[in-house]
Amino acid sequence: MKTNTMNAAEFTSQGHWRTLAACAACMLALMGCHPDMWNQPRFAALQKSGFFTDGRASRDPVPGTIQYDGQRRPWKSAVFEGISGGQLTVPSIMDDTFYTGRQGEGFKADNYFPVSAELLARGRERYDVTCTPCHGFAGDGFGVVTRRGFPNPPSFHIDRLREVEDGYLFDVMTNGFGRMYSYAARVTPEDRWAIAAYIRALQFSQYAPLDTVPADVKEAILNPQPVVENPADSSAAHH
């Protein structure tokens, strides 16, 4: 399987000729080169190593290592506190539902977290960062990459997806679906749950009963005004 580190690109700290020239200039300027302090005998993240044949300092687990928590990466507790409203205890790493979206035989029907404004805000932020390139801001499947030739993903507003469980959405994010790659390595479980909640909100936005719309917005929807670019400009044009 491919993990985060396996595919990782690497930095190289090997100098370009300019670095050398710069170094020489430094010497001339009596600045002196002291690479021994600059580059200490330790590896920074993703640094190149001359020791291993594949050149990576970040190593995979030794073959045969039994995974203890799989993709169950530690969550950011602050985010968790925010989205759970401080009501839930932090899920144990053994909590399958939290990490897989499954409950019993099927998927968990509703969100793992109590739905709150914080949860939705978090979900919206993460959705905008991670999902919009393909799914678009409205969740209609017209993200920016579809204009570059990526096949349109299905809209969230089709019936099939409106009826799936929250756990199913979580599962797709975790394991990928069709052309969609797994996002387990890029989005933390709690964020995935938050995104799932936000997708629900997106779906709801397309089918919301008129009663749930706030009064002023409702007014605007019912009596659409002709689009005026800038009232000041138009009035100026009249005079």
């Binding site: 009596l30 002196g32 080169c33 002291h34």
Partner: protein
């Protein structure tokens, strides 16, 4: 000219005149400048410079290895992080105090006997300060980055720490070197003119002539020259005191028992003058023999220098006494324990006892007049004092550091071959520079000797 001076009663009579009889301005100029112009260097000179060059190459080689490998080659480590480097720094800086002291303070106090020895002592000062300067440079471990300690607008938007005595040291030592150099050069200008005028045509004449700046001995020039010279002297006198005071602050401003002592400033200054005069005697006694300068550097000079050495030696002893007594009087267990270790229990106790022998006992011989005016014993005493002063710095640095407050930071110090190489090498640098100096520059201030001769003839000084 009639003798103007009344007969001096024997009790007040100096041991020798300032200058032996039978000289004229011409003979003075000839005697001093011929060492540069004519005289083949005596055999001991070749011996000395050979030794100097050998030692200097030891310095060069050991320094190159040190740069390559790093400071781990030295014996320093926690808790004794200062070791030989600082011992040698303080020793050399101390030696470097005699020159400016002789030139400046004696100038201010109108001491006529400075004339014959000031040039020599100033040159010695410069070379000693050079030797001293090597050690902090090496001790920082990355000498190529030493400019970090200078205050200038840099890319780090950072300033050196002005509240640290180590930075004061940087300013003090560099100022001291610069001002000593200016003072020395100012004194040299008229003598360079003499050399220029006595030389045959050639490159050497042009070089001396260039540095003589076209000096022509005009009365107007002399007038401003004397003013500038006395002002430089007036500024150098407190400078010389401040420099070793600041060196003493390196220790005293810390809180280490054995270092944090208020007597350090005057005690260090006295020690510096003490060792400085010892070094002047060490090199002047042979030099006046080899280069025929006995007429100008008379027994009177030796006597006076020995007296200064005795006086400053006594001040140093007072410092030792104060350290001992007040360590006890403080009632502080740390102070007392440190002193106890220093004197008895540390593996370096013998060093402390040797230092007492060298600095406390030996100078007492200088109470005897015969000792002061006989070159050989005086030479031996001056060597012993030099050794003693080096041991003193060793004791201060090492015995105070090796027992920190907590037993967890106790350790010891063993100098390695590289420590010794740097130390011995710096002596090589010093000897080489001294030899080159006597070969290429007048070792006695010629114009001041002429003035002295003139005043002696007029009977104004004796």
């Amino acid at each position: 000219m009639e003798a103007r001076i009344k007969t001096v009663p024997p009790v007040l009579k100096a041991v020798a005149p300032l200058m032996e009889d039978g000289h004229s301005h011409e003979s003075i100029s000839r005697a001093v400048s011929d060492v540069v112009l004519e005289m083949p260097m005596p055999r001991p000179w070749y011996a000395t410079i050979s030794v100097g060059l050998i030692l200097l190459s030891i310095l060069g080689i050991s320094t190159a290895i040190l740069f390559w490998e790093g400071l781990g080659l030295w014996g320093i480590n926690n808790p004794v992080g200062w070791g030989f480097a600082i011992v040698n720094l303080v020793w050399w800086i101390g030696i470097g105090h005699a020159g400016t002291l002789i030139s400046a303070i004696l100038l201010l106090f109108n001491q006529d006997w400075r004339t014959a020895i000031n040039r020599f002592a100033e040159a010695m000062t410069l070379f000693a300060v050079m030797c001293a300067g090597i050690f902090p440079l090496l001790h920082v471990g990355r000498p190529w980055a030493i400019f970090f300690i200078l205050p200038y607008p840099n890319t780090m938007a950072l300033w050196p720490q002005f509240r640290s005595p180590l930075l004061w040291d940087v300013f003090a030592i560099s100022t001291y070197f610069t001002v000593s150099l200016l003072f020395w050069y100012t004194g040299l200008i008229p003598d360079l003119a003499t050399l220029r005028d006595r030389m045959p045509k050639g490159i050497a004449r042009s070089i001396y002539g260039f540095f003589a700046l076209g000096w022509r001995g005009s009365a107007r020039h002399w007038f401003r020259y004397e003013m500038a010279y006395i002002l430089l002297g007036g500024m150098s006198a407190p400078l010389v005191v401040s420099v070793h005071t600041i060196v003493s602050f390196d220790f005293a401003v810390s809180v280490i028992p054995g270092w944090h002592t208020t007597i350090f400033p005057p005690y260090f200054v006295a020690g510096a003058i003490y060792s400085g005069f010892a070094m002047v005697l060490t090199i002047m006694i042979p030099a006046r023999e080899w280069f025929g300068m006995k007429d100008f550097i008379t027994l009177r000079h030796l006597d006076n220098m020995a007296k200064v050495m005795l006086a400053t030696g006594l001040v140093v002893c007072y410092g030792y006494g104060c350290e001992l007594f007040f360590a006890w009087y403080s009632g502080s267990d740390y102070e007392r324990t440190m002193m106890w270790y220093r004197g008895f229990e540390s593996p370096f106790a013998w060093v402390y006892l040797c230092l007492l022998l060298c600095n406390l006992v030996t100078p007492q011989f200088l109470w005897i007049k015969w000792m002061r005016i006989t070159p050989i014993p005086l030479f031996i005493i001056s060597i012993i004092v030099n050794i003693g002063m080096w041991l003193e710095r060793f004791v201060i640095v090492v015995t105070s550091l090796r027992r920190d407050y907590l037993p967890s930071s106790w350790g010891t110090y063993t100098p390695t071959i590289f420590d010794w190489a740097a130390y011995i090498g710096s002596i090589g640098l010093f000897l080489t520079m001294m030899c080159l100096f006597v070969k290429f520059l007048p070792m006695i201030s010629i114009f001041e000797l002429r003035l002295q001769h003139h005043l002696m003839k007029r009977g104004e000084i004796r």
